[in-house]
């Protein structure tokens, strides 16, 4: 391929990327909602099959740019972030380990299938169980896709609170587990095997047009993986909004009971990434308190599928410890946020 065709290809892709970013900014200037705008009352009088259709038409007619932007941004960031830096610094001292685990979580976990292998990698490379744990607990709440969608669909306030709170919980869990005897045992096992790593790494960067194309392709790959679940989630949410009586939500999903129930169903109920956001929005619309909503969103790190995969790498004791800490965190912060925001 000649230099000229390469530049032309790069320019076409850059135009598309600028269009996506520009349109998102335009939508913010015009200040219209990027979330579903239908209220539970709007569903009255619709036939059963019309409910999901109406809901999706409502959502996609104005929310498409948010989804498109989220996937393109995730693809670009994943492609351009220098991954070899992790290998270089991860084995360093404890503080660097924790710092990298936190800094890396938002960028490397857009695809949930990479989360557990990365957790194992951090452990095997000798960074210790603490940073590995912090990474694992931080990742579901902090990845680019879920931040953007929590912000646009629910609210930016909640997106901010969600990140800060998961950071605190993830760090606490990491530090506590690294101090327990069973955590130390596992750390010791892995530290010995990974000493003296002298890796030969010479990353060769391809030309710009190939990198841009690869990132758009990755965006498409993410879309293909996540959108089917997301669409199913939208269907489910439309029925929840149409049929779940508001007084049930008002009774069970508010107050201290609300936080407790939300924290319990948010965990074991395995919700694929992003569906928990729409489902949370639906229940919030029906009267769930903000405190309970936060607990619900924080339930992700201790879902069953994840715990099973992790238990194959570390022992059950560690898994149970982090599940208890994550659950306690989601209850404590759900209550605190509920009280502070006046919506418990």
């Amino acid at each position: 391929m000649t230099e000229k065709t390469r530049s032309v290809r790069s320019i076409i892709m850059l135009i598309f990327i600028f269009f996506t970013v520009g349109y998102l900014i335009y939508s913010r200037i015009m200040a219209y909602s990027l979330a579903p705008t239908m209220k539970p009352a709007d569903f009255h009088g619709l036939a059963i099959w019309e409910i999901p259709v109406a809901y999706m038409v409502d959502y996609f007619s104005h929310g498409w740019i948010c989804l498109l932007f989220a996937f393109v941004a995730a693809g670009l960031i994943y492609e351009f972030i220098p991954k070899e830096a992790i290998t270089k610094y991860m084995g360093g001292n404890k503080v660097t380990g924790y710092g990298l685990a936190i800094g890396m979580a938002p960028f490397l976990t857009v695809c949930s299938c990479t989360m557990v292998p990365l957790f194992a990698g951090i452990l095997y490379i000798g960074a210790g169980i603490g940073p590995a744990m912090t990474f694992l607990l931080m990742a579901p709440a902090a990845n680019i896709l879920s931040i953007l969608l929590t912000g646009e669909i629910i609210s930016w306030e909640l997106a901010g609170v969600r990140i800060i709170v998961s950071l605190v919980v993830a760090l606490t869990a990491g530090i506590i587990i690294s101090k327990t005897p069973w955590g130390k045992a596992i750390e010791k096992e892995h530290q010995q095997s990974s000493s003296g790593t002298q890796a030969a790494i010479e990353i060769v960067k391809p030309p710009l047009d190939e990198r841009l194309w690869a990132s758009l392709k990755f965006a498409g790959h993410l879309g293909k993986q996540i959108l089917p679940f997301f669409l199913l989630g939208l269907v489910a949410v439309s029925y929840v909004e149409a049929y779940l009586p508001e007084d049930i939500v008002g009774t069970y999903l508010t107050g201290v009971t609300g936080v407790l129930i939300a924290s319990v169903i948010g965990g074991p109920l395995y919700t694929p990434t992003l569906v928990e956001i729409v489902l949370g929005k639906g229940m919030w619309e029906l009267g769930m308190s903000k405190g309970a909503l936060l607990s619900w969103l924080m339930g992700q790190p201790y879902d069953v599928a994840n715990a099973l995969a992790v238990s194959r790498i570390v022992r059950w004791k560690v898994v149970l410890t982090y599940m208890v800490i994550a659950w306690a965190g989601s209850v404590i912060f759900g209550l605190t946020y509920g009280i502070l925001s006046g919506s418990l």
């Binding site: 070899e84 299938c113 990698g121 095997y124 490379i125 095997s193 790593t197 790494i201 060769v204």
Partner: protein
């Protein structure tokens, strides 16, 4: 005939992106055969201590050519794999 070893490092069970990488490497290998280069492809899993000890790679998929990691954390195109191999044997 020149010999090159290529190791595709991915997760186990293989994810879509690791499979795509493996396929691109296989295709590049069959093209390079015509240029008298014999590419030996093998598969390594990123979740093993051997891989970490040898390469320190934790982000998959990754590609090591003649024991040097050239690609990490993304799917290389077929053409790119060819270029990398050619640059190595030269």
């Amino acid at each position: 005939m020149k010999e090159v070893t290529v190791e595709v490092i991915g997760v186990d069970p293989p994810c879509k992106r690791c499979q795509a990488t493996y396929k691109n490497v296989e295709e590049a290998a069959s093209t390079l055969k015509a240029k008298d280069i014999d590419v030996k492809i093998s598969h390594m899993t990123v979740q093993s201590k051997d891989t970490i000890a040898k390469y320190g790679v934790i982000v998959s998929p990754a590609l090591a050519i003649n024991n040097v990691v050239k690609v990490m954390g993304r799917v290389p195109e077929k053409k790119e794999v060819e270029r990398l191999i050619l640059a190595t044997v030269k």
